[in-house]
Chain length 422, copies 2
C-alpha cells in the first residue's frame, strides 16, 4: 500500500492543486451538518469526510470504541501514535483513486461526503492546558530593541531555553468567533494612576499551535523522541494581545489579563505525519543548548504563513505579513521537552503556542507591535486606511501551508473580527 | 429549621471541640473505602458521611442526577449556589442530634458512616484552570525588599490590582502525594552559563485556594456579588516553588517550570457558607481601588494558619509559621472579579491560589524564602537541624481553621514529603 504522504497519490475526489486539503493532508476537525450532532471529520478538497458515519458503518478496525462520534478529537488522540498512523492510512485508502470501496458506493459516498460549504466547524479538541512560548529570535529581538534598546534586546536566559508561560485555556476559540475588545487597567506613561477602560492597543500574534495527543507522567522528563511522538498535529494560532494592559500588569509575574480574553485557532488539525515531507533543520543554536534540549533530528518545518487585515471600510483583505515557520529558533519538540523538564505532567489536549513567528525581513513581522514599531510607523492599507493597532470591525485572517510538488498541505485559515467593548 | 451555621447545633455523632469537622462545617471531599469506587463524602467528627449511598437511598431531592457517585465535586458544584445551600441544610438535618432519620436507623448508619481512618482521600475536584495570585502585601514587600531594596519593594502596579498569573493545572495534587524535587536550569550569579540539575532552593508557599463552582461567559465582567456567588469553597494550598529555577527563567514572562512540578491541596473543600460567621474586613486599601474592584462587603476571613516541618531525623513536626488569612490585602472576590475583567471565561473547577499568606510579624512569614531571608538566616529546628530551604525527606504540613465559640471550622491539613530527584 502506498504511503499516505506519497506525492503521486490522487483521490477520486477532484482536488485543485491550490487546495489546502489534498489526499496528502487529511487534517482532522469537528463539524456538524445536516442536523446531526458534532462529530469528527477529515477535510478532502471541497468536502468533509464524516468519520463518525464511516465508523458506525464498521469501516475502521476499532469501530466499537466510537471515538469519532465525539465532539472533540481528544478520545481519538488518546489512542496513541500507532493508531493515528493506521487510521490515516485507512482514510487515505478509502479516498484513493484506485480503491473502489467508497469510490463506487454511491449510497456510502452520499452519506459520508459533505460539501465543506454546508458544515459548521467547531473547536477541534478540548484544550486541557494552554501554554504560550516566545521562541522566534527575530520577534524577541524586535520587542527587546523597542523596549530595552539594541544592546540588551535579548534577555540573558533567552538563548538557553524556550521561554514560555501558562496561558488561559478557557478562552481558546475556533476561527470565526468574534473577539470582543477587552477592557482592563491602562496606565499611559504620562498618567499618575491607572484607569479602567477598553484596550487601545489591541494586537494579534501569528503563531502555530502544537496539539499534544499523549500524556506524560508527573515527575518524568521527556526525550526528544518521546516528545516528538506525543505531538498529534498543528493548528494556526492567533494569540490576541492587549499591549497596553500587558505593559502595566506584566511585572513581575508575566502576562495575565492581556492575553486571557481570546486565543483563536484554525479548525483543522494538520497531523505531524502529514508535515513529515517538509521537515528541515532550524537555525543554528549558539550557544549549544544544554544536553536535555539537544536535537538529533531536524524538528522545524518549511511552512508559508501570511496574515491579512480587512478593515470594515475595505472591499478586500490586504496582506500585512508573509513569513515562514522555519525561522523559529526553538522547535516544538524542544518546547515540549522543556515544558516537562521540571516534572510537569502533560495531558492529551494540551496546546502549545509557538510564540509570534517573525522572520529576518521587515515584511515578515508577525504582530502589529512590530509592523508599526510600537505604534510609531502606521501601516497604510488600501483606500488610505492606516493602522497602528486593531480597530473595531477589523477582520484578521491567518493562513498557512507547506508547498509540495504540485500540491500543498494547508491549514485553512483562522479568522477573527474585533467587536467593540460594551 | 435551624441554620446549619448555628453555633448551638450538635450532631448525634460525638465531635470533640478541637475537631476540624463539627456539624457547623460539613466540608466536601472525594473518598474511597471498603472496596467501593471513589465518591463524594462529607467529614463529620471522626467519620466520613457517604453521600453517594444516601443519594442512592433517595435521601436527596435531586437523587436522580447522581452527582455524588462521581469521583469529583464538579457535577455537584455545577448545580449552583442555591442547591449548595439546600444540600448543606439537608446534610445538617441528617446529622442533627434531634433528627431521628439517620440517628435511629442503625442499618443506614452502618452503610453511610465510615470511620475517617479507613478512607483514602482523593483529589476533591477536577482542576479546570489553576491561577496563582500574589495578594499579601507583607509577602510582596518582603520579597521586594530582598531583591530590590526597601525603596522599591512594591512594584508600581501592586496596589492597583491583584497581580496574578496562570499556573499549571495538571500537577495540582491532593495532600499526601509525594513531591519529587524538580530539576531545571540553574544559574548561580557567579556562573557564566546555566547548568541543568536538581533544584537547590526548594520552597513552600502557604496559600488558600478558592474553588470556583460556577462558570462565567467569555466577554463578560463580574460584579462583587456575582463573583461571591461563584465561589463554592476553600482549600489550603501549598504552592511548591523552585526559587533557583524561578530566578533564572522568570524574566519577562513570569514563573513557568519553577512552579509547574507540583501544587498540593487539602482534601476537604470547606464551603463558603460554612465560613460566613468568620467574615471580616481586610486591611484598608489605599489608594482606593478602581470602581470595578471596590467592595461593599467584608470579603476577608479570620482563619488561623500554621505550617510545620519535620525533617526525616526529627521525632515530631515543629511549627515554623503561624499566621492568619485575614491579613490578605486583595480578597478572593477581588481576585475573581479582576480575573474575569478582560472577558476571561471562568469555569467550574477553576482554582485560585491566594498568594503566599504572610503577616506583619516575623513568625508569620509563609515561605522559607522569607523565613530564612533568602537563605541568609537559617532556621534552627529541634535536635539542631537547620534549614534555609527544603531537603529530601522533609515533610511539610499546613493546617487552617476558623475558631468559633466552643467549636472550630477546620480544613484538616495538606501534607507533602520531598523525595529526591532521580
Amino acid at each position: 500500500m502506498p504511503h499516505p504522504n506519497d506525492p503521486k497519490l490522487r483521490s477520486f475526489i477532484p482536488v485543485d492543486p491550490s487546495s489546502d486539503f489534498p489526499i496528502q493532508n487529511l487534517p482532522y476537525g469537528v463539524f456538524s451538518a445536516r442536523g446531526r450532532t458534532p462529530r469528527v471529520g477529515v477535510a478532502i478538497g471541497d468536502y468533509v469526510l464524516d468519520l463518525c458515519e464511516l465508523e458506525q458503518d464498521g469501516r475502521f478496525a476499532f469501530a466499537e470504541i466510537g471515538v469519532f462520534s465525539q465532539a472533540s478529537l481528544n478520545p481519538f488522540m488518546a489512542l496513541g501514535p500507532k493508531m493515528w498512523s493506521k487510521t490515516r492510512a485507512r482514510i487515505s485508502e478509502l479516498l484513493r483513486y484506485d480503491h473502489p470501496e467508497l469510490r463506487d458506493d454511491e449510497g456510502l459516498r452520499k452519506l459520508v461526503l459533505v460539501p465543506i460549504g454546508e458544515v459548521k466547524l467547531h473547536m477541534p479538541f478540548a484544550v486541557s492546558g494552554y501554554t504560550d512560548f516566545y521562541s522566534s529570535k527575530e520577534h524577541a529581538t524586535n520587542v527587546g530593541v523597542m523596549f530595552r534598546g539594541k544592546d540588551n534586546a535579548l534577555q540573558p536566559n533567552w538563548l538557553h531555553m524556550p521561554i514560555g508561560y501558562n496561558g488561559r485555556a478557557s478562552t481558546v476559540v475556533v476561527s470565526g468567533t468574534r473577539v470582543k475588545r477587552p477592557r482592563g487597567q491602562l496606565k499611559p506613561p504620562s498618567a499618575e494612576a491607572p484607569h479602567f477602560g477598553p484596550c487601545k492597543r489591541l494586537d494579534f500574534e501569528l503563531e502555530m499551535g502544537v496539539v499534544v495527543g499523549q500524556a506524560s507522567k508527573m515527575g518524568e522528563m521527556l526525550s526528544e523522541q518521546q516528545a516528538e511522538e506525543m505531538i498529534f498535529g498543528f493548528v494556526i494560532l492567533n494569540d490576541w494581545s492587549a499591549r497596553d494592559i500587558q505593559q502595566w500588569e506584566y511585572v513581575p509575574l508575566g502576562p495575565f489579563q492581556a492575553k486571557a480574553f481570546a486565543t483563536s485557532i484554525s479548525p483543522w488539525v494538520v497531523t505531524r505525519e502529514a508535515l513529515e515531507p517538509f521537515r528541515l533543520h532550524g537555525p543554528a543554536q549558539q550557544p549549544e543548548p544544554l544536553a536535555y534540549l539537544r536535537q538529533a533530528q531536524p524538528n522545524n518545518y518549511a511552512m508559508e504563513l501570511d496574515v491579512s487585515l480587512r478593515a470594515s471600510q475595505m472591499n478586500a483583505a490586504q496582506t500585512i505579513c508573509r513569513t515562514n515557520f522555519k525561522y523559529m529558533y526553538w522547535s516544538s519538540v524542544q518546547q515540549l521537552v522543556h515544558h516537562a523538564s521540571s516534572g510537569c505532567a502533560m495531558n492529551v489536549g494540551d496546546l502549545l503556542g509557538s510564540g509570534t513567528i517573525s522572520g529576518p525581513e521587515k515584511h515578515q513581522r508577525g504582530s502589529l507591535l512590530e509592523i508599526s514599531w510600537n505604534g510609531s510607523e502606521p501601516v497604510t492599507l488600501d483606500g488610505g486606511v492606516t493602522r497602528t493597532f486593531l480597530e473595531d470591525g477589523d477582520s484578521l485572517v491567518m493562513r498557512g501551508w507547506c508547498q509540495g510538488d504540485g500540491y500543498r498541505v494547508g491549514f485553512g485559515e483562522v479568522e477573527g473580527t474585533i467587536v467593540k467593548a460594551e
